[in-house]
Amino acid sequence: MSKSLAIKWIVIIVILLGSMALIYPNYRWYSKPEAERTKLESLGEKPQRLLNLGLDLRGGSSLLLELDVSKLSDREPLNEAMARAIEIIRNRIDQYGVGETSITRQGDKWILVQLPGVANPAAAEALIGKTAMLEFHIVKNDTAGAEKAIEKLESMEEPYDQDGVLKPEIAELLPEGYTIFRTKDGGYYMVDKEAKVTGADLDDAHLTMYGDNGYPEVSFSFNAEGARKFGQLTGSNLQKQLAIVLDNTIQSAPVVQSRISKEGRITGTFTLEEARQLTIVLKAGALPAPVRVIEKRTIGPTLGEDSIKSGLSASLYALLAILLFMMIYYKWAGFISDIALVLNLVLLMAIMSYFSATLTLPGIAGIILSLAMAIDANVLIIERMREEKLLGKPITTIIQLGYDKAWSAIFDSNITTIIVGCCLLQFGTGPVKGFAVTLIIGLTVSLFTAVFVTRAIYELMLTSNPKEISL
């Protein structure tokens, strides 16, 4: 064996072993039962560098949120606000305790939240989207003069705008400076329009499972600024009712017995789940501006499972059919390209694992295209070899010319397709990107396996001076 051939084989073997080492953790991880994986994931103990499955394959929900930039404070630049919004959403979701979530910025003002395996996205959505407008309003003693407004309010589906301000057609029916809120049991209170203290001044929040009246409660503490404001509010309104308004609904309206500054409690007929969500939202703080869900996709776990099962088995049959065909049609040469094809898949998986890439259905399409081009490269080479063989050339020349002449076509077609892949990567969103990633990796790998590796195999065969290689 010549020195250069030995080096080639060392390179190939090292790459092969490296790929195996990268793929093995995947095998260990995905052979664990589903429940155990979910548990480990939520504990953050999922190994690094694994090939991930996209939501379309494993089931789950994805939400695309738009930050309402018109409501941003002028002092906060967009980039900072987005970073903060993402951080807050991440906090809220982490505390809710679902599996591995991905929260990424997309474009200017969009945030993509992907929740794998979440069966009930509504809960998660409520958690993310909630502005959790907690406000404290002083209650006016009677509702006189508000009858008309209440009547009108009952007839409307959404009497409040996004900021919790009554819509003007109702507000004009009320005395100046007041607003009305519904209580949880269907009554109404007329309260001061202005909320002197809001949830924005909160410092921390805790859940109490069994509060005074047997229902879960949420206790909270203010920051310095909030404590000062709250002290002032309670101190000047002793013996009056204070309405605790959460998202336009009065949770409770206790009578102020004494001046309170630092700490408080929200009581009401919460369910445990409601109280838990409220605690999380209060703790994580308020979003810099309201967010709106502009895209929502939920894929049931059964659909993901079905599509992965039939898709995988069909792909496997297709691959086997190709391998078999190549072997029958091109004999030894076909077998050698089969080796390269399988190696191509192994390397592709290894590289994707290394980058913790996500495999989606369009991603599988990208793999199929790259495999097809790998086969094409080998067909090109073998057809060239056949042409030379028909001219009666010696075996060494056949192999050398086969590669030399096919190379420019293989190179040009791969480069053009990689160019397309790069454009898609640059401009594409989620699924298109997934396609581009597997395509680019696959093509790069196929240049290595279909040309470099197969040639190394032929050269190794030539060292034993064969008379002929069947093509």
């Binding site: 474009g107 059964t302 069909a314 040009d412 454009c423 640059q426 699924p431």
Partner: protein, 343 residues
């Protein structure tokens, strides 16, 4: 040696008028089809909501449709096979939770157990953004392909023909989707992209062969070169396409519902791609290179022949870096070089 095709010597260019006629007819048919039936764009592009349910036992589609009238919303019902149905509301901006609840309530009246497999809501802004991005990606890739091919093959006509061939394949796919009224969603877009990749690949393989043959026999006419190159690569074209189409058939029939549209699109695109490469790309190069004399050359009048002979030499001239005296010595040099290779 096992071969499906003995060495062929078909005059592919001779039938170019037939190809162009066929392609023009497809083009006209397609435009009419788009204007009348239109494409069934999925909610990924139009925005809207979609709820997909699977019943545990067969249900009449009309029964489902009747039940759905209770939702008092305008929606389409589509069967996916295997007792699976999708309820769609295009362009709607309503909350998916609301739509889903309505659908569930309506379907409960059927008294057949079912599971919700998928529920999607896409806002109109998202669909628009997606379309814009896809358009940019396509425009940029096409321009880059033309530039790259022009650079590698020293001729801008070639790259342009390749891009036209690519468009032709995508157009035929779109026609197939308009004809069957299959829905175009993101996975189908991936299939379109894949076919675009195949299309370029096929084109380049033939161009590469023409380039090589030009170098080997610089005195041959372009028509001869093109025909010989197509014939020489024919067996490769067929084998590669056969493996791809074969595996796509497997995906189409056994790949499950998620891959079905993908496989369908790819099948149409790949089968069409073989035709396009042989019948459109290179004939276009031929016709454009010869411009006005297009009419005379097919029956190969002697004067036209002479004009053709000079063209390949002109191509050679554009690889001058290594051989400054290109016109005279360039061709000979490359012949000599390839002889050396053969030894």
């Amino acid at each position: 040696m096992m071969t499906f095709f003995p060495k062929t010597n078909i005059d592919f260019l001779k039938y170019r008028k037939i190809y162009f006629t066929i392609s023009t007819l497809i083009l006209i048919f397609g435009v009419i089809l788009f204007a009348t039936k239109g494409l069934n764009m999925g909610i990924d592009f139009t925005g809207g909501t979609m709820v997909q349910v699977k019943f545990e036992s067969p249900v009449e589609m009309s029964a489902i449709r009747d039940a759905l009238t209770q939702t008092e919303r305008e929606s389409d019902l589509q069967s996916y096979g295997d007792n699976t149905y999708a309820v769609r509301e295009k362009g709607a901006e309503t909350d998916i939770a609301e739509v889903q609840a309505g659908v569930e309530k309506a379907l409960d009246t059927l008294n057949v157990p079912y599971t919700i497999q998928q529920a999607n809501f896409v806002g109109p802004a998202v669909g628009q953004d997606m379309t814009e991005r896809a358009a940019w990606a396509i425009i940029l890739s096409l321009v880059l392909i033309i530039i790259y091919v022009a650079f590698r093959f020293s001729n801008i006509l070639w790259g342009t023909s390749g891009v036209i061939a690519l468009f032709h394949d995508l157009f035929v796919m779109a026609v197939a989707f308009a004809l069957t009224q299959r829905e175009i969603d993101l996975v189908v877009v991936a299939a379109f992209l894949t076919v675009a990749g195949f299309s370029i690949n096929d084109t380049i393989v033939i161009f590469d062969r023409i380039r090589e043959n030009m170098r080997l026999t610089p005195r041959a006419s372009l028509a001869e070169l093109i025909n010989r190159s197509i014939n020489e690569t024919l067996s490769r074209t067929i084998i590669t396409s056969l493996t791809v189409v074969g595996s796509l058939f497997i995906l189409y029939f056994f790949g499950g519902e998620a891959l079905n549209s993908f496989a369908f699109a790819m099948l149409v695109g790949c089968i069409c791609g073989v035709y396009t490469t042989i019948a459109l790309t290179t004939p276009l190069v031929y016709v454009w290179t010869h411009g006005g004399e297009n009419n005379a050359s097919s029956s190969a009048g002697k004067p036209a022949r002479k004009a053709e002979e000079k063209k390949p030499a002109a191509h050679m001239q554009q690889e001058p870096q290594h051989a400054p005296a290109a016109q005279q010595h360039g061709p000979k040099k490359s012949v000599r070089k390839s002889r050396r290779n053969r030894r």
